[in-house]
């Protein structure tokens, strides 16, 4: 499978697909999207709730429909999506980049490309407690995938750990799939996610226990019960405050981290920003990293939301195809995109991320001596 491309996009989630579609719209011809999963769309196809935001960002449409729209765009515009294909190596010599791909049917091969857009998303965080490796302790996103995509409920009585949006939304979706959620526990003294999602879960009679965390999960070959305990103001668990739940599935919804293996392998520079989930590549306002021709977008460039990933994908797609546009056209498209991103990053949850993104641009300028190349 040796071939030459203008752009190879790694990851076919909301960011990758919209980057590919935008690049094709702006004049790029040979665009390849690779993804190691057997189905495209990244985490979009498990999002069965309606999205918020503006019409430009598919508000009111359920996630899996947005996935279908984006995938259809890429294919209609002449892009290629290659599934079950992992990037197992990448090298960079300033000009052409070489990616080593592994596909179970085609074997290992390499592709050369002028530009790479890395849209590898994020991975779920874990917390350790006695029993954390026991089968039946799963990522909340994992259970969401199993239930909404494969229509498999691994167990019926669920304890959700974490009350951020993922914890709340997955709890609700587990109820929709016929599971019982015995409780949502939250270590902080307040609910982490949006009130609208919390209200849906509370209305269904699921208790959200604040200042509470997991002490231990017990079972022989699968979760049989989960012990939680309260956490005092000093952040320490309170002995004697234990409650035992008869749960057979424990979902961890304790945040996500950018999936930076590939940007690390290539040698992009990174920065640690708590508001964006940890180490994330430094990029300029066109989403180009400290390595020329290597772009990032979506959760790998800071964990946010699908609508932001879609917009950032567009931005990276524009950035990577500015050579086909006039200078004015390019900068006005980039500006427009940032205006939409700023809108999406408003409110108490968005502001810290907006600030973190500004820091990334500043850091880029400091390290490379220019804001744009």
């Amino acid at each position: 499978m040796e071939a030459e491309y203008d752009i190879v996009v790694v990851g076919s989630g909301p960011a990758g697909l919209s980057a590919a579609a935008e690049a094709l719209r702006r004049g790029c011809k040979r665009v390849l999207v690779v993804d190691e999963n057997p189905i495209p769309g990244g985490q979009l196809f498990k999002q069965i709730h309606k999205f918020f935001g503006s019409k430009e960002h598919y508000a009111g449409i359920r996630g899996f429909r947005i996935g279908e729209i984006l995938l259809n765009d890429v294919e209609k515009l002449g892009g290629t999506v290659l599934l079950r294909t992992s990037v197992i190596g990448a090298s960079y010599d300033g000009g052409t980049k070489t990616l080593w791909l592994n596909n179970p049917e085609r074997g290992v091969g390499k592709v050369r490309t002028r530009k790479v857009i890395i849209a590898t998303g994020a991975k779920e965080n874990v917390i350790a407690f006695p029993g954390w490796t026991l089968p039946g302790v799963m990522g909340a996103g994992a259970v969401q995938t199993l239930v909404n995509i494969y229509r498999v409920l691994p167990s019926r009585r669920v304890l959700m750990v974490g009350s951020g949006n993922v914890g709340l939304i997955v709890s609700y979706q587990l109820l929709q799939a016929g599971a019982e959620v015995v409780a949502v526990v939250e270590i902080l003294p307040r609910i982490g996610g949006w009130a609208v999602h919390a209200a849906k879960v509370l209305r269904m009679g699921v208790p959200i226990l604040l200042s509470t965390t997991v002490k231990e999960v017990r079972g022989v070959e699968w979760v049989e019960e989960a012990v939680v305990w309260r956490v005092g103001r000093d952040g320490r668990p309170v002995a004697g405050s234990e409650t035992v739940f008869d749960a057979d599935l424990v979902c961890l919804a304790v945040g996500l981290s950018p999936n930076v293996e590939l940007t690390r392998m290539l040698g992009c520079e990174h920065i640690y920003l708590k508001a964006l989930g940890g180490w994330t590549p430094i990029h300029d306002e066109k989403m180009e990293t400290t390595l020329r021709g290597v772009y990032v977008c979506g959760d790998v460039a800071g964990v946010e939301e699908a609508s932001i990933a879609i917009e950032e994908g567009r931005l990276a797609g524009i950035g990577a195809s500015c050579e086909f546009l006039s200078r004015e056209e390019c900068s006005s498209l980039v500006e427009e995109s940032w205006r939409r991103l700023d809108e999406l990053r408003s409110g108490p949850f968005g502001e810290p991320r907006k600030e973190a993104k500004r820091l990334i641009l500043k850091e880029f300028k400091q390290r490379t001596g220019s804001l744009s190349r």
Partner: protein
Amino acid sequence: MRVWDHPILGPLKRAREVTFYLCRNGKCEEVKAFERDTVASALLAAGYRVFRYSDKYREPRSVFCAIGLCNSCIMVVDGQPNVRTCITPVRDGMKVEVP
């Protein structure tokens, strides 16, 4: 267990049935799945929960991330070790071993 009906997604559309084999301690059993299943989703749907035992302490392991990132669900598939079953589609006649 399967989610046959769903308030948003509707009834589960029946896909072509696929049969593969799960082998433990030298004994193989037939597992029925749907064509669009992964090995992991098919095993969980059929009620198989332990995918492997850890190398050092022989502790049970199963699916954790379900999107090919954590390697918790790796098994031996058609003789090949360390296959991420959560992103491997089922195929008729495939042999899946619990390592």
